[in-house]
Amino acid sequence: MLAFTIRRLVQSIVVMLVVALIAFVMFRFVGDPVDQMVGLETTLEERAQLREQLGLNDPVPVQFVRFIGKAAQFNFGTSYQFKRPVAELIGDRLPATLELSFVAAAFALIVGIPMGVYTALRRDSWLSKFFLTVSLVGVSLPTFLIGIILIFIFAVNLQILPSFGRGAVVDLGWWSTGLLTASGLKALILPAVTLGLFQMTLIMRLVRSEMLEVLRTDFIKFARARGIKNRAVNFGHALKNTLVPVITITGLQLGSIIAFAIITETVFQWPGMGLLFLQAVQNVDIPIMAAYLLLIAFLFVAINLVVDILYVFVDPRIRIAGAAT
């Protein structure tokens, strides 16, 4: 188990180094950093001095090592457009995006899994057919359209939910949360549903197909032949066997929820990292783009690591195989 975790950790670090290299290359070779930092009237001598000061004359590997050293301490330099440290900017925005993403993922799981189980067990009921039809809509409609439709219905016509912003937030010092105020929670509903709808339908369809597969297996038939209660067969024996693929997909999807919250954040003017990133792209603010790239990569890697470790808890076959090697 420990060896397994360490092996995965090492792999994660390798992935992070590769991503860091890409971020670094972007920094160093997309335009001249000095050009982007100084005004037009700066003399050549001043530029050369700045270049020396910033260490841009050092060999590239040395610069890369320095970049990684600083990145490891969350030092990503100063934003060109805001003139503030990137770490600080991201620190301001990260809570909004993470809250939105996790609520969206929780919504997708809490609604998606029971719907998947239901549609697998009651294949022919009209409610199952209804769920499946609705899920087709969820899969095929683009996120921004779903967001706009929801705004149109709940914010414009019914006027029960706000159409933009985070509502009132409570500042906990290092984290600002919208989960503790009524207006914050209300503001969270529409963007979270918008962001989670696609994942929900995906999880529902995945759970459904996995359940149908598992329900056909011999061990389910044997469990029934032993007179085990239906509830225990369906939710114990069958559902547990569908969890490994569900965990995999949920993990991967959680990463993309965070990374691609950009569209939802734009539609709802959600003050998260996605919005920050879009502004950065528009203004060629490379420090922010590089930091965003690193952060998303880090989240993906971290989530995958957690997923790998979760497998081991769910599936004993992986546990034993991991212990043996």
Partner: protein, 325 residues
Amino acid sequence: MTEALLEVHDLVVEFPTRKGTLTAVDGISFAVHRGEVLGIVGESGAGKSMTGSAIIGLIEPPGHIAGGTVHLAGERIDNLSLDAMRRVRGKKIGVVFQDPLTSLNPLYTIAEQLVETIRTHLPLSERAARDRAIGLLDEVGIPAAARRIDDYPHQFSGGMRQRVVIALALAAEPELVIADEPTTALDVSVQAQIIDVLKRLCAEHGAAVMLITHDMGVIAETADRVAVMYAGRIAEIGPVRDVVKDAKHPYTDGLMGSIPTLTHAEDRLTQIPGSMPRLTAIPPGCAFNPRCPKVFERCRTERPNPQPVSDRQVACWLYDGEAHP
């Protein structure tokens, strides 16, 4: 013979399909007496397993029992509610399936699966159920049962897993054990051991056995009586010694002739020409008539029903006194 434990009368199992209704089991009747081993033998698709599934009420939809009755210890069980039938399975009828590698849930330990089964049917505490489970594993010949009980199925070999399956089938002291091809998936060297365990334990626990197999050798060594099935019907049923030594039905005769023996040096084994008809194309009259060496006119038009011939029942016009030309 003692009182009949299981009485199957005129059982019909049908599968509605787009091309019309298929009759997988076509009006078979037989009885299993307390403490005896009844072998059911036949080719693939003869309806052996379907008969077993019908008795425990686990035919895969859309298949269903279309006629006939099943009585267990005098009580009719083919028309019970789903929940009442669930209580019969495992408690009164234990089942052993063909493939031990897929019969056990891979995510639960042997202990969890045994304890769950025991506690479903018997009012025992967790502790007592576990002790009972260890006792059962001991009986089926799992070495160091108290230690190995907490292992997962994949940590056992095929033969050991089939022993676990037998322990599970016997967990609640059933009166009847239906063993569906219990040795087919096993190594030849292990088959004899498993049959031995099954036979010995059922005798010790006073359970009758319905042994479904295509292996005439297993039947000859194990069963008290044998029913030979062909195309969904019973061709011949009687004491195993008599049937093996002096087969009455031409099909049984062909089957016996196709078993290699050590005592007779034959160049070539007897072979029944052709193959068993598909369910969609059962010939009129006796289903065996196109392949029968002793076929005559009546076989092509009228279907023979099992009728007493000395100490057994044979479904063949040869033994219908008035009909023979």
